[in-house]
Symmetry: D2
Subunit: 390 residues, 4 copies
């Protein structure tokens, strides 16, 4: 790569900027994954991950992507022909639904306009109507990375309870984990799916499943052939902090460091910080006179803000201008909002000044690309952030 001065602004909603401490940890020489040093590492990451997911039960770590972790969640806890309730909250919910259907799972896929999260009331209604208890699982994407809408998991749990329905609750926290308040155990989630390259500030390559007793029980009688993804083989080995096949050792070095960093800052402080970045970003967007894709304030995502491109200008052309002029990557619109929106990632390892540099890049990019807008977005964000810093 030829030299561009300064650091690239990687302001997509994941992968996020990997902090130097994590990069250094990953750069440690690989060790014997059957030796004593690995054993200690393994204990630290398996137990540490529980604290991040907020569960006292097992968290399984696969060398895979978030997509793999989705697949593991589905095929361990469900069976071919099972019925699940999902919400079309955006591109990733759609992909998860597509995956489930490939495995012969029947999905009741509730449509949305991609500007709202999963509706707890619909969950309650659907489950109450399911008097035969044929719905085996309610699958929700906590934070829709394609739209910047965060579904309300605690309310969905309440909805399931209100319906007195035995369905499992399965949640994708791929872009929320480590950035947005999340409580696997307290919220009675059965399967939480996560990955490494978002709030955990790691490179991609690790996928997670936090599993409840109920999900584990389901996995023992379910109908999918599987080997690599099998929870039970994994948990048997994990009981002694080993793995049934070779783990991604160097990413686990990074995970240990990332957990340490999140706990140094304090998870609650991390959540507050992300909320602050999100509010500052929305104030900028509104000042520019642009529209935020998410329509429901209580569902605003703390980790990314999706902005609707005004007029006829394509969002991708705009993003390209920003990349070329200011060396900043913004997220593209995906699926049915392709080229119609751009996404500003504000998660992971960043601070107020990085965020303001980011918003400045967007504001200047609007100018350069000839997109109609009001100036003052950065100024509005600064006012908010300096107030918060008092």
């Amino acid at each position: 790569m030829s030299f561009k001065s300064g650091r690239h602004f990687l302001q997509i909603p994941g992968p996020t900027n990997v902090p130097d401490r994590v990069l250094h940890a990953i750069g440690h020489p690989t060790i014997d994954h059957r030796g004593p040093d690995f054993h200690k590492l393994s204990e630290e990451v398996l137990l540490g991950s529980r604290r991040i997911f907020k569960t006292s039960g097992p968290v399984i770590i696969f060398p895979t992507s978030g997509t793999g972790a989705w697949e593991a969640g589905l095929i361990n806890s469900l069976s071919p022909g099972d019925k699940v309730l999902m919400f079309e909250t955006g591109h990733f919910a759609t992909l998860w639904c597509t995956m489930a259907r490939k495995f012969g799972i029947e999905v009741d896929f509730v449509p949305t306009n991609w500007r709202h999260g999963a509706d707890p009331q619909i969950v309650e209604e659907k489950l109450k109507a399911d008097t035969e208890k044929t719905i085996k699982s309610v699958n929700i994407v906590h934070n829709e990375t394609s739209t910047g809408v965060t579904s309300r998991i605690a309310e969905i749990r309440q909805a399931i309870d209100n319906a007195g329905h035995p369905a499992l609750l399965m949640v994708d926290t791929i872009s929320s984990l480590g950035s947005v308040d999340y409580r696997h155990e307290e919220w009675g989630v059965d399967v939480t799916v996560g990955c490494s390259q978002k709030g955990l500030m790691l490179p991609p390559g690790l996928g997670f499943n936090a599993v409840s007793e109920k999900a584990l029980e389901a996995s023992k009688h379910n109908g999918f052939n599987r080997h690599f993804w099998d929870w039970n083989d994994m948990l048997k080995a994990n009981a002694n902090y080993w793995y049934p096949s070779t783990p991604a050792t160097n990413l686990l070095f990074g995970l240990r460091e990332a957990i340490q960093m999140l706990e140094e800052e304090g998870l609650d402080n991390v959540f507050v910080r992300h909320a602050r970045f999100a509010e500052a970003t929305r104030r900028a967007v509104r000042t520019w006179g642009l529209e935020i894709l998410c329509e429901e304030p209580k569902e605003y995502s703390p980790v990314l803000t999706t902005v609707m491109m005004p007029g006829d200008k394509g969002a991708d052309a705009f993003r390209k201008v920003v990349l070329n002029a200011f060396d900043m990557s913004l997220g593209s619109g995906l699926g049915k909002v392709a080229d119609k929106v751009f996404r500003i990632g504000h998660l992971g390892d960043l601070n107020d000044l990085t965020l303001l540099g980011t918003l400045a890049g967007v504001e200047m990019g609007l100018e350069l690309a000839g997109v109609a807008h009001e100036k003052g977005g950065v100024q509005a964000a600064m006012s908010y952030l300096s107030d918060k810093a008092k």
Copy 2:
């Protein structure tokens, strides 16, 4: 970790020592996997991998372990109920067989004493006898990491051809790729399974499938549900150097560097170097009066040597002595040779002097552990290596 002076000797048959150049490459900040820099990286690793597998066809890279790559190979090219021919060459062949059976594949698992490779003559006989052509695939582990026996793939190809049988040939090169001569295309292999943490000198976390046209064709009509492992989704995205789900970007940085390093040294030189290390090791073992597990000289592994533990001493106790006294990890016996053998890894990023340090650690360990042996093994290895250096 508390400080032990000097570098750990990681002399297991993988993961291998990751060179600094690769560690540095992996430590590069993660980039947008939908941006132009990634696109270039992706092209380089997808095309570079073909040169390592020696194929002009596609090589698929999954963020996974070797076990995942096994699974991908099986469920893309076979169907439930298919019959395959495999050889019980050791622990890993057994695991692969177990996996296949979990997926409802019927395995004709030819037993061996774990001291020989897959027998080409048996392949020919079995296939000739299969007049109904019910055998869909012949699956061979090229280098049995648990025994140090290398099967003769070119001869097995010949056997299949002699039988005039249409079965696929599927080969596990997990511990041979990048260390032992291997020719996916020339040898008419249909599916080659590989991974990152052996001869490629990377940390674990990448799995590979090199696939032939015939295998691809089979994948289009086969009977397994799949999503994450699906070759066709992957190849459709790879055609433009993209991926259907998030790739393990930082390991791909490392892969680019590792391919570069293998090509700087020259693959043929790499193979000669490994053969030299193996012969030096065997000379040491014989001088010690110990027995090599592999009984067939033309099947000696260039990448590891498995040594039978004499007397009543357990091999694991011996390995522990070596680890504690000399900070060197040796491979343990696995499966039915557990505690009966130890394995000396001599693959990846090492040189003559590292190998001699390794053999010295074994020889001194035998002394310390009270294992009956003759001295002079290191001396014998030195004589061989200095001759070769002339």
Copy 3:
């Protein structure tokens, strides 16, 4: 260190942010400084440094700081009792003068108000008046790091020539080299003093002397005892790319990489970039209603901007607010402007968005610290930068 999210903004006028490529280069294992790999490294850095100083003559590299390089410059080319002409352009010029006096050199130290550079007209007058040619050297700080004022070296050269005076011209480019146009040979400079931690984007630890034939000749007859700093011993060894004592090998790895990066970007582009950052910064400062220390526009520094603190607020208290609230280091006032000014570094490895994050930190800091100012500084900088990006 406990974790603060995001990267620290190191916006002091050096040490500057060291790019990852340089940090990685420095992290290479140390090599034998008498072996062939070192020999090649040494050739590359010794010749590459000439291109950065723009000279065809020797550049000497010491393992030292800029202070050490000052000392080397003085004691190689001058003798005790020699008279030199210097200008009190700020804190660093004062320190250099103090050093010279410690060595028994007589300094005619022309005072300024610390808001101007060295005056070429005074140089000409002083030299013309020195009919006895007792002045042996004119010593100028190219970029006064304490004030943000850049002296005009080409004009000073002209002044010396106008006076027809044989004095040496000695220039401190500690904070200008690699950021501001500088031409050792074309401008007839005899000794150029530089260091690693500013525009060269390296950690501190290397000091440089570029020397002319005339300076070398002077060094052969001068009167200071010396050994470590001796140019002639160094050049004798450097002729074959060796060193008389152990060089700082790992920093030289970094230097090789830094030269490569500067040449990838193109030195002229680097200078334009710094000038752009400086103008954007001044526009922000003026919008805030604050005063720039430098009074002479043609002497504005491209690498830092020194801002006068209005009212009674101490500049150091302000800097502390910024550090605590926004994790950004700004430069303090030094010497007689201590606590009266703060310095914004905008040199080395940064880009437009980093600069805007920096300016946002200053503007929010003014707000937080209760310093009277007008808002809109960042906005003004953005307008300028987006115009420039068109």
Copy 4:
């Protein structure tokens, strides 16, 4: 650099192999050397260095090489015309003497055959004879890096005391510090000179002076002009953990880590380890039938062994064979033993197996280069090391 498999064996007596932990520490982004994080770092390294030198008094750290630290020691504590007693123990003692003479210091340079250390009896005699107390300093190289001879500092201290002479004791510990038992305070040393790239396992670039009260007192009335090297300026700044000029921040990060590592292993264990390596090496050398340069067993160096080249073969040709065939750097003969000896470094970050790899490289190199020798050196070293490991 093109790829050679395996790690280079850097078995010169410094620079030594820099451990990954130190390289990682050095790769940390440079920080503001006037900010709070630096302040803490500075305190840690200034106080930690005292524990390594074993003194409760100040240790001064310069960004320089060992040569610079020599110069600082001389010109702070002595005056032009002063008389000092030194011993020609080898090349480095000769260089130090040459340096002193350049500064107008009169050296009584006691000759040796380069096979012995400084003789305490001669010290006593010379000092007793110096009834006028004209000798201001006794300067000893603790470990002569060019010969592998270690002078007995405690006995020299005793000799000075026996003579009742007020001379300062100045000791060069460049290649002994952190590898060989050394006690600045207990042994009443006035100036100890050290550097980073030997037992401290750092890259070159730091020089040290540990100074006694008596030396400090001398520095206040001595006759050399100086600035950069001035102890008093440094100590004034160091009192608050600051520096008078820019310190080599990144090497200080490394120093902090190195001190931590030495203390994790335990300094006494470090010394025992080096003594073990040295004895193993000598056993190998004797088995080869080669002669060790050092004639006095109680002066054998724990950090390197210098071997006399038998017959007409040049030692440099032999070293070249070893470098080309086995990628190992050995130390060359310096000064009057150039090409007549080679030096095996066995200091810093290495373990038994690395040492045996090293000795194997030497033994094979002797074979390859056609140097007459007996085989079995490595075997002899192994016998010793396995005994020690019991």
